[in-house]
Subunit: 266 residues, 2 copies
């Protein structure tokens, strides 16, 4: 199995109001694309129902990373769990624990990762669009209870922010740190991704109208997340920015720009 | 009224597992901060419950912009609605319409806007954090039905991507375009924002440990969204990138970098 099976829950609706634009829109179900997108996003958004008395679902921004504790060498194209860390409010933790206590699979959650790659400016506002990549996962969240899995997940999550950071920070975690850290494991039930690539596309009647074509600039403004020079803390005593950090910032900046610029090509 | 009143739903939980870090974390309820954050985010995430038979809420990435159709000159510090546009799936549209038809206020949704401003690298992974700004709104979504309000909202949303774009594109919208555009208006029920600013902070025992302090780099890697040079489409006939677009890209890039770098200062 290297992809999520399609169901009503995760099938990407390709039928759009702007029919001709569907050529530039694609739905994906393979593990590698979806898991890779989650892992490349510094933040994921996690939705859950709060209370039977409350009509609104709630969203928390969290750090999310795909991984397999049972087979830590498993690639992105394998079935993986989603590990969530962040400002875990008492609510999502309590609800996850309560669901497990009731004998359920966990708290039903939705996890999304979205990257905006460009602003598509067509002649008509109606054909304006974004180049973007968006992954969505549905699954059941449980608090990680075992010390061993928690320690493994802390390393996974830390290295998802900056590769090799765990090995280059003060580790292992103390007993108090272990106790005070809460991580959720989401068993994935369904997943999909949606991409939009390409340039600006307009209706023929606009393209034939010289007063429009000669006056309206059309194209794409590529956009990406960039990292600046690392700023040392007042307590920092290491004179040089370490190589693993310097190289990560440089490579990631080039990579992110390439993705955004290449997304414009068709 | 210039802020959202606090209730169980929107009160920011400041009690964190890392107690000393609460100094750098703040909850905000004023309209200006929350609405400003939504308006500056190219994408918002919208959560809603899909079906009584379905345990999972779902999240859609959409374009969101705060505004008041009744008083279009209202500032960010006024009570505003949230207008949503995007790949409006049939589901969120259908559910919103059905809720209205049942005489309800609309579909209960949660709208979030999140900006990551920096990766905070402390000596211990436990004290790693993000500088970030996150806004959350709860409210009731209704499809915009009136032609006048829809036309107004289309301009609002288009200009939220690139200021003055509506005036500089082929407008007004045709009848077909109007008919094919779906916009949701969210009446806000509750709102709040959460910020984390500052540098890296560690426990005294780590700061006193020379083997740690002399080996682990600590500080913040600032991060922000940048726009590249606009890339003209193959159909584009306007030789120069227009001033309104060029200036927007330049100013926004400087502004976004300033926010990320200044967030590190305490």
């Amino acid at each position: 199995m290297t992809e999520y099976s399609q169901s009503k829950l995760n099938t990407v609706n390709r039928l759009r109001k702007r029919e001709h634009d569907t050529d530039y829109l694609s739905g994906k179900y393979d593990f590698e694309t979806i898991h890779g997108l989650v892992n490349q996003s510094p933040v994921v958004h996690v939705a859950f129902a709060t209370d039977p008395s409350e009509p609104f679902p709630t969203i928390l921004p969290m750090i999310g990373q795909m991984g397999s504790f049972e087979d830590s060498s498993a690639g992105l194209d394998s079935p993986l769990d989603c590990y969530l860390h962040g400002y875990v409010s008492s609510r999502i933790m309590r609800l996850s624990q309560e669901a497990v206590a009731r004998g359920e699979d966990g708290l039903p959650v939705c996890v999304t990762a979205t990257k905006v790659d460009g602003f598509v400016l067509a002649l008509a506002p109606f054909h304006h669009s974004y180049n973007y990549r968006s992954a969505i996962l549905h699954g059941y969240a449980q608090p990680v209870e075992s010390e061993e899995e928690k320690a493994w997940a802390m390393e996974l999550v830390t290295n998802s922010v900056v590769p090799q950071r765990w090995q280059n920070a003060r580790t292992p975690a103390t007993k108090t740190e272990m106790k005070s850290t809460t991580i959720l494991r989401v068993k994935i039930h369904a997943g999909s991704a949606k991409f939009r690539n390409g340039g600006a596309h307009d209706d023929r009647f606009d393209l034939k109208d010289e007063s429009v074509v000669n006056n309206v600039w059309s194209g794409v403004v590529p956009t990406w997340q960039v990292m600046g020079d690392p700023i040392p803390s007042s307590d920092n005593a290491v004179a040089k920015v370490p190589a693993y950090l310097k190289e990560f910032v440089e490579k990631e900046n080039i990579r992110n720009k390439d993705i955004a610029v290449n997304a414009v090509k068709e």
